[in-house]
């Protein structure tokens, strides 16, 4: 007997056989047990396939269960945007602009302040180190996060809640418990007879404190003179600052010229053009300062860490001294109790009368060599930067695969993440400025703010790189090595393009906006998701 083949049997079963052949087969299977058995077996196979495919063996992931995003009508987004815009406007007119005005009154207006910070003085020297610090900070944060999440004991939402709580706590902790007196006048004078029993916040063209402040003194002014007694810290943003009195706490100051001619009980931190510690001046703790010119004639009981273009030391240092800059002159009356080091361009001049506990350790930076090797250094920096970024990418793919995929997915939407990134940048610049100031006054929230935002900007390149790699090599979600290969290619292209003058910088700006937006969207998506158990 001639049988029908398996193809014909399958088509017959599925009603796809031409009518004539279907009739023939119907007649045939009545007589042929073999073909009948085959049809039965194929039918059973179809049932088994359908059952296996349709069986509900796996729960829906929580992020798909949520219909919140579908449920939010567009007017809510419009309202939210309106509220956001109003908030931003209020923040600017009520907080940022007055601050800028105050800073401007204090002599930090516009380019003057920027040029002072960036281009004049020794501050420029520190940028290389700052980039290193940023990269290390990014790695450390990713590492800590990785350790925390690898345990997988905490649910993602709990982990995020913990981090957010910690940041909120950091913001709340420094809020002063005591009452604060605020004075804003053209010229603020606290006479010698007056005692202020709280913190004092002052602003004005000039501020003079001859009396006593039993708390912190926070000043925004063109000219600050303290001849009285401050039992807490002095935090000052001033054109000029002269401290002739007594401060039991710390002095933190951003000032074009800062002069300490009195006694500071604890530490002193200063950023400005000139820092002068007169012969009568004393710092009970350490001095950390960045300035173009520094005269250190007074006594510092502990360490000195400074970046000064030109340093003149005639006073005493109880602890160790570490200086960077161009010139260093150590006079005959100088004393250094601990190890001393100088890293700079010129050979330091040390008076024979100076008393140094140990010989000055000198590291000279040769100007010519720096110029010759600056190109090589640029390339080496580029390679190291690429390596660090790639390493971060590998860590992301292996340690946070879910977050990586979600964020990469968001990156692919292009327009939305760039928009979110641009908004975040506007908010972020404000946070960075605020964070920078807060770091300066030693508030943990500032540290948290800067350390939280800077790595996001840095990590942005990984996702844009991965997206670029996917576009070139085609998408890959597995295996991990294929994903890493795509990140490596994308990052390589970005880093190569980064060398192009002007366009490279514009590209990095776009990458920062795009990637930051994608990361923020990724955080948002992940915060709405609960890990569901795998049952397949």
């Amino acid at each position: 007997m001639i049988h029908f083949d398996e193809m014909a049997c399958l088509l017959y079963l599925e009603g796809q056989l031409e009518p004539q052949r279907a009739r023939e087969m119907t007649l045939h299977i009545d007589e042929c047990p073999a073909c009948r058995a085959l049809l039965h077996a194929l039918e059973r196979e179809s049932h088994v396939l359908s059952a296996a495919l349709t069986e509900d063996n796996e729960p829906m992931p929580a992020r798909l269960l949520s219909t919140r995003s579908w449920g939010i009508p567009s007017w809510v987004w419009t309202l939210a945007f309106g509220v956001f815009a109003s908030g931003a406007y209020w923040l600017w007119t009520d907080s940022v602009d007055p601050w800028l005005q105050q800073l401007s009154n204090a002599g930090f207006g516009g380019t003057d302040f920027l040029s002072m910070l960036l281009f004049s003085g020794a501050f420029w020297e520190g940028w290389g180190d700052m980039i290193d610090v940023l990269q290390i900070a990014a790695l450390v944060i990713v590492g800590i996060g990785a350790i925390a999440l690898i345990r997988r004991r905490l649910r993602r939402s709990t982990a995020i809640a913990v981090v957010m709580s910690a940041m909120a706590l950091a913001l709340v902790l420094p809020s002063p418990a005591a009452a604060t007196e605020i004075r804003h006048e053209e010229s603020v004078i606290v006479p010698a007879s007056e005692v202020i029993h709280s913190d004092l916040i002052v602003s004005g063209a000039s501020v003079r404190i001859d009396g006593t402040v039993e708390g912190d003194l926070i000043a925004f002014t063109g000219m600050l003179i303290v001849t009285g007694h401050v039992t807490g810290d002095i935090i000052a943003f001033a054109g000029q600052m002269r401290m002739e009195g007594t401060v039991d706490g710390n002095v933190r100051v951003i000032s074009h010229t800062a002069t300490i001619a009195g006694a500071v009980g604890k530490n002193t931190t200063s950023v400005g053009n000139t820092f002068d510690l007169t012969a009568k001046g004393q710092v009970g703790g350490s001095l950390t300062a960045i300035a173009s010119d520094a005269d250190l004639d007074g006594r510092i009981h502990r360490d000195v860490l400074g970046i000064f273009r030109s340093t003149h030391l005639d006073g005493g240092i109880g602890g160790q001294m570490s200086l960077r800059g161009r010139n260093l002159a150590i006079g005959p009356t100088a004393e250094i109790g601990g190890p001393a080091s100088f890293r700079g361009l010129r050979q330091p001049v040390i008076s024979p009368g100076a008393k140094l506990a140990s010989p000055l350790h000198i590291e000279r930076l040769a100007e010519n060599r720096r110029q010759i090797f600056s190109g090589v250094r640029l390339i080496v920096n580029g390679i190291v930067g690429y390596g660090v970024a790639l390493l971060l990418g590998v860590i992301f793919v292996t340690v946070f695969p879910g977050f990586f995929r979600t964020t990469l997915h968001e990156t692919g939407r292009i327009g939305l993440p760039i928009g979110v990134g641009a908004l975040a940048l506007v908010a972020g610049v404000f946070l960075l400025v605020l964070g920078g100031l807060l770091i300066f006054v030693g508030v943990g929230a500032g540290v948290a703010g800067v350390l939280g935002y800077a790595p996001i900007l840095y990590v942005a390149q990984i996702f844009v790189g991965a997206w670029l790699g996917n576009k070139i090599l085609g998408e890959a979600s597995n295996p991990t090595s294929a994903v890493i290969g795509r990140i490596a290619l994308g990052l390589l292209i970005l880093h190569m393009a980064g060398f192009i003058p002007v366009l490279g910088a514009l590209m990095w700006l776009a990458v920062a906006l795009w990637g930051t937006g994608a990361i923020l969207l990724g955080f948002y998506r992940m915060s709405r998701a609960e890990p569901a158990p795998l049952t397949v």
Binding site: H3, L38, A41, S46, P61, L64, W70, P401, G474
Partner: protein, 199 residues
């Protein structure tokens, strides 16, 4: 679906089309599990399936105005889902099947029905799913379109970009590959495959 449910669904679709977020939410809740399962069966990883499900519903919402309400909504949804997943798989340049459309490549031997039934009965649904995961993308997609989404041969042909007459070949070959995986791998002649005649 009874006529009342159908009418209710039509109304929901009409409301969702008009921008009613609640109606859209209802539609989503109703169909998301099935579409997620569809994606889970066709895409290589769970994460891919999650992402695809989201993307499919975003597309569906955008294309809702193009939906022809005389057709079944679920069939239209599966068509969108199938196109999305198949596009994604193709863009990833997954290893393409070696099929060239030549029917001569098909094995024509008559399988031993008894052995075949035994092979099928021995395997659990989970084993069948695992075997499906190992199939080439096109074979897996064809089986899912036919035996999960219940798509017609015409729709399968359109989605996979093959001639309609070739759909049966793709399906049968996919079954053979599945049997190979489920059966004794590497055997010169799998037990379910016995010599037989052909028309």
């Amino acid at each position: 679906m009874n006529p009342a449910d159908q009418a209710n669904e039509k109304e929901q679709i009409a409301r969702a089309r008009a921008g009613d977020a609640e109606a859209w939410g209802e539609l989503y809740r109703q169909y998301a599990p099935a579409i997620f399962r569809f994606c889970r069966r066709t895409m290589p990883t769970r994460e891919d399936a999650e992402d695809s499900t989201m993307d499919i519903f975003i597309k569906v919402r955008q294309k809702l105005s193009q939906y022809d309400s005389t057709r079944s909504f679920s069939a239209w949804l599966y068509t969108v889902a199938a196109n999305h997943c198949w596009d994604l798989l193709r863009r990833r340049k997954v290893r393409q099947d070696l099929e060239t459309g030549e029917i001569e490549n098909m094995p024509l031997e008559h399988p031993d029905p008894g052995q075949l039934e035994q092979l099928i009965e021995r395997r659990t649904s989970q084993e069948v799913r695992r075997a499906l995961d190992q199939l080439p993308a096109r074979a897996r997609m064809a089986l899912v379109l036919r035996y999960y989404a219940d798509m017609s041969y015409d729709d399968i042909a359109t989605t996979l970009g093959v001639r309609r007459a070739f759909v049966g070949v793709v399906l049968l070959r996919a079954r053979h590959q599945l049997r190979d995986i489920l059966g004794e791998r590497g055997a010169a002649s799998p037990p379910w495959r016995a010599a037989g005649g052909a028309t």
